[in-house]
């Protein structure tokens, strides 16, 4: 029941807030509700058994019996931290947008809550149909968040984002229908245990990957990202950068790799190459960006490239590093985008040229920004460092060249982020900026504590995911021994028979 509550509490909250007659109290209600969801999610931590690699807290009910669709939920090491991250960030997002002069606040809060519900549903669904429903459901609140509450170019940005995402999702839908017709079931576990023919694996993998890699996004598929990040309202950008893009990586780990292991290994070199290209492209674009949010958007692109690198090394270290990096990057980006959003609101501009010397008028602002930035850069002691270190060590073993590219990405990221800090906060002051209010401090402080704490004590994050990753991802990648032996024997026998025939023909 607890998993259902995580989905349906925000959903019910969205309905209540959306249909409430007055604005008054809506914010407090939404904040209280999301905080409640967070406390509820803490009880997951307590009940979670790290030694069990399967789904826990399972729920199973009929949804559409004629079609064999179930309402089935489950939580495992793959989804655990992303669920926690969602539950943790949503109340902060509500808090962060509190003081902003948001028009039509009820609709805004309803969208945030609906987004939380759909993200939770995507992470917890263990039925393919249910997963798809939640995955697509995310688009509607995201469409409105950017399209209604975004800045100038919001309509173009939101259409671009939704159409990019839908293109991927629809391809995934076709592959999903194929998987269902192959296995005769919508159940995730059945789909994972089924062995698909090799050529079907390849196109199914690509179709699923299209949906997830557009979301992450992988290098040539990232066209929607800068616009959507830049135009979205701060809370929206936080949802995008910290949660939605992580779901792409989650989908890869949940579906692409375990369902189609052969295809995953076949395409890994290509994807590794593109991920590395994405790191470089993101970093270089961030270096020349003149817009605070766009700069952070490109840096996010480059950091997600690292997550992809970790996944496609197919080693425990790499996978753990990727998951850790997802959480840590989510926290850091959430903090940075909150702060960038407030800067934009106070100045009425996002251009780097319009800022300068903010540290003089707003020292706390500057300090908080620096702190979150240090984690994003990957300074030892902060959580960013652990994720990067794990992924890098795994990549180094696979290919020193790629590790070199990734390392170059870090150097660049340190360069452009410090440059950003210098432009914004140091130098001659260009107009005073109001320092953080108490509410804003409260919204960012938990993030600051967490990035430091996770940087010093990463094991509580890494331990619970180990078993799931080994069991559900790495084990699947091992070739099934019986089948290959059989195939080899078959090939040898056919060759012998052919040879025999030819010999007889000669005689």
């Amino acid at each position: 029941m607890i998993l259902s509550a995580l989905i349906f509490l925000p959903l019910a909250g969205a309905l209540l807030v959306g249909l409430a007659p007055r604005d008054k109290g809506a914010k407090a209600f939404a904040f209280g509700l999301t905080l409640g969801v967070f406390f509820l999610s803490l009880s997951l931590l307590k009940g979670f058994d790290p030694a069990d690699g399967g789904f826990q807290f399972r729920e199973l009910r009929d949804l559409v019996p004629v079609a064999g669709i179930h309402y089935s939920l489950g939580l495992d090491g793959l989804s655990l931290w992303l669920v926690m991250l969602t539950a943790f960030l949503t109340p902060l997002a509500v808090l962060a947008s509190w003081s902003q002069a948001v028009q039509r606040p009820r609709g805004f809060l309803a969208c945030l809550l609906l987004l939380e519900a759909s993200v939770m549903g995507t992470l917890l669904a263990t039925d393919l149909f249910l997963f798809y429903v939640f995955w697509e459901l995310m688009l509607i609140p995201a469409f409105f968040l950017v399209g209604l509450w975004g800045s100038e170019g919001r309509v173009k940005a939101t259409l671009k984002f939704v159409l990019y995402t839908m293109a991927g999702s629809l391809l995934m839908l076709v592959a999903l229908l194929y998987v269902v017709s192959e296995t005769g079931s919508f159940d995730y576990t059945v789909a994972r245990e089924h062995l698909y023919p090799e050529d079907a694996q390849l196109w199914c993998f690509l179709a699923f990957a299209a949906a997830f890699l557009i979301k992450v996004p992988l290098f040539p598929l990232h066209g929607w990202l800068p616009d959507a990040y830049a135009e979205a309202p701060p809370a929206g950008t936080v949802f995008f950068s910290a949660l939605l893009v992580k779901l792409g990586a989650y989908g890869l780990l949940r579906f692409c790799v375990p369902l189609f292991p052969y295809a995953a290994q076949e395409t890994a070199p290509l994807l590794l190459g593109l991920a590395a290209a994405g790191i470089l492209h993101g970093s270089l674009m961030a270096c020349i960006a003149t817009d605070v949010k766009r700069l952070l958007a490109y840096s996010s692109l480059s950091h997600m490239g690292l997550v992809l690198l970790g996944i496609f090394t197919f080693t425990l270290t790499g996978l753990q590093g990727s998951l850790f990096q997802m959480v840590s990057h989510g926290l850091a980006m959430a903090g940075l985008f909150f702060l960038a959003g407030w800067l934009e609101e106070r100045k009425g501009s996002r251009g780097l040229m319009d800022f300068g010397g903010v540290a003089k008028s707003a020292p706390i602002f500057a300090f908080f920004f620096l702190w979150m930035m240090l984690s994003a850069v990957g300074l030892p002691g902060f959580s960013g460092f652990i994720g990067e270190l794990l992924v890098l060590s795994a990549v180094w073993k696979a290919s020193p060249l790629l590790a070199g590219v990734a390392l170059l990405g870090f150097v660049l990221s340190a360069w452009y982020l410090f440059n950003l800090f210098g432009r914004l906060f140091l130098g001659p002051a260009k107009g005073a900026i109001k320092d953080l209010t108490l509410r804003e401090v409260l919204a960012v402080l938990p993030l600051m504590v967490l990035v430091l704490w996770l940087g010093l004590k990463p094991n509580p994050i890494l331990r619970p995911v180990e078993k799931t990753l080994t069991l559900k991802v790495l084990e699947e990648l091992k070739p099934p021994p019986v089948m290959t032996d059989f195939a080899a024997t078959h090939r040898r026998l056919t060759e012998e028979i052919e040879k025999d025939k030819r010999n007889r023909g000669k005689k």
């Binding site: 309509v155 939704v162 839908m166 269902v180 017709s181």
Partner: protein, 476 residues
């Protein structure tokens, strides 16, 4: 109940609608204009009574099956689709009443025609042989022609009716020819017999294929499959918006439903017509969506979109050769239900938003409406999301079941074309939603009257139905 013959009780929904139509005509003739304010209420009452008896029949443990010596079949499929047609008629009635009052064109005949069209739909859906099918189709079509041209003084309405009539008569001729060819080849009108004969077809197969081809063309015209869709955009665009909604949902659903039964039950096997269905599906979806993409008028865009949606149903029908008839019929019936909810809602919405005289709404005119009338705009957003096939709306479930049938039948290519089309459609539907929430002229708010209770209820029913239909327990 048991005292009455089953023929009477099982067709109760049809009798109610017929009685309602005749009663309205009598009222108009005997009392005249004074009876007119009561007409929509009486129509609504007849339709709801009919819906009640349909639902009652659906709840029966056993279906009556073939009646009237095999002329009519009462089963889950026909009853479900009758429910869908009733829904469409009820919504059309609810959207029509304020529309006609606004356009100062209230008469009793309008509602009598509406009810007679529903009677035609019922006959069409209940038909288990060609003659009944044809009678039903003609009854429905004749009423629809008149309804399309109902606003006689408006040129576009007359033009719409004329085009619709010409195409419709043309289609009927094709159908009749096809029926005659099949009768000549097999000597039967009944679908079940035809199926048996086709399975042992042998030398009659070329004739069967020719007959099927003529039927396809005839139905193609009736339900506006490309390349036989030329009349549809003009007819839907010119007809009064509530009528356009009725034509695009009820009339089309009934014709598609009968078409579906014919091809799932009588022709549900391999044959040259399977390929033809696949080609029609691809062409219709693509032509409909590309056509909608370039429309400036929102109503015309909706007309093209309804062409495209007929194409999606063809994807499901294509799979009929490889799937059990009941699963095809289930998917089709659900799709038509979802389609009726969202399309009726959208046309009804347009009939309200267009204002007096039904102005031609372009995207530009919709600017800012979402900011002034958030809930009203939200209902249109729900319909459009659903039409685009986004979860968790009914439109997604409908497409999902149809596409699943096709994938199970090995039609991956067809489904890929279908989802590519969905993506194109998402662009033009979402463009409208995005426009609703663009900052626009603020002056329009005053010109926009408050909605009456009936309109509110109808829009709310459509929107709620679109949201939850996918999760409800379906009759079969």
């Amino acid at each position: 109940m048991s005292l009455l013959p089953i023929e009477l009780t099982a067709l109760l929904p049809l009798w109610i609608v017929c009685a309602g139509a005749l009663g309205l005509l009598a009222l108009e003739a005997l009392i005249g204009p004074r009876s007119r304010p009561a007409a929509p209420l009486l129509t609504g009452a007849a339709l709801f009574l009919s819906l009640g008896s349909t639902l009652h029949l659906l709840a029966q443990p056993a279906m009556p099956g073939l009646l009237f010596s095999g002329a009519v079949v009462v089963d889950l499929y026909s009853l479900t689709l009758m429910g869908v047609c009733l829904l469409s008629a009820i919504l059309a009635c609810a959207f029509s009443a304020p529309y006609l009052a606004r356009e100062k064109a209230v008469t009793g005949e309008y509602y009598a025609l509406l009810l007679l069209a529903v009677a035609g739909m019922f006959t069409l859906l209940l038909a288990a042989e060609f003659l009944t099918l044809f009678v039903g189709l003609e009854l429905m079509s004749l009423c629809a022609y008149v309804l399309a041209g109902y606003l006689r003084v408006k040129e576009r309405s007359t033009e719409a009716a004329l085009k619709y009539f010409m195409a419709g008569v043309f289609a009927s001729a094709f159908l009749l020819y096809g029926i005659a060819v099949l009768y000549g080849a097999f000597g039967t009108f009944a679908f079940p017999d035809l199926r048996l004969l086709l399975e042992h077809g042998g030398s009659s197969m070329p004739m069967a294929a020719w007959g099927a081809a003529l039927l396809l063309v005839g139905f193609g015209f009736k339900v506006a499959l490309a390349p036989f869709h030329g009349w549809a955009p003009d007819a839907y665009d010119g007809a009064p918006a509530p009528v356009a909604g009725f034509l695009a949902t009820g009339v089309k659903a009934a014709a598609l439903g009968a078409f579906g039964r014919l091809f799932a039950e009588a022709f549900g096997m391999q044959g040259p017509w399977v390929t033809a269905l696949g080609v029609l599906a691809v062409v219709t979806m693509t032509v409909g969506n590309l056509g909608a993409l370039s429309q400036g008028s929102v109503k015309r865009m909706m007309a093209y979109s309804s062409v495209a949606h007929a194409g999606y149903t063809m994807v499901g029908l294509w799979a009929a050769a490889h799937s059990p008839a009941d699963s095809v019929e289930r998917a089709l019936a659900f799709y038509l239900l979802a389609y009726t909810l969202m399309t009726s809602g959208a046309f009804g919405w347009l009939s309200i938003a267009a204002g007096p005289g039904e102005k031609d709404l372009s995207l530009e005119d919709l600017k800012g409406l979402g900011l002034q009338r958030p809930l009203f705009a939200l209902s249109m957003a729900i319909f459009l999301f659903s039409l685009a096939g986004m979860t968790p709306m009914a439109g997604f479930f409908g497409k999902f079941y149809l596409f699943k049938l096709a994938v199970d039948a090995g039609g991956l290519g067809l489904v890929i074309v279908a989802v590519a089309n969905s993506l194109v459609s998402a662009y033009y539907y979402l463009r409208v939603v995005a426009t609703l929430y663009k900052e626009g002229k603020e002056a329009k708010a005053a010109a926009f009257p408050a909605l009456g209770a009936g309109l509110k209820a109808a829009l709310l029913a459509c929107a709620l139905g679109t949201l939850v239909a996918g999760f409800l327990k379906f009759p079969f």
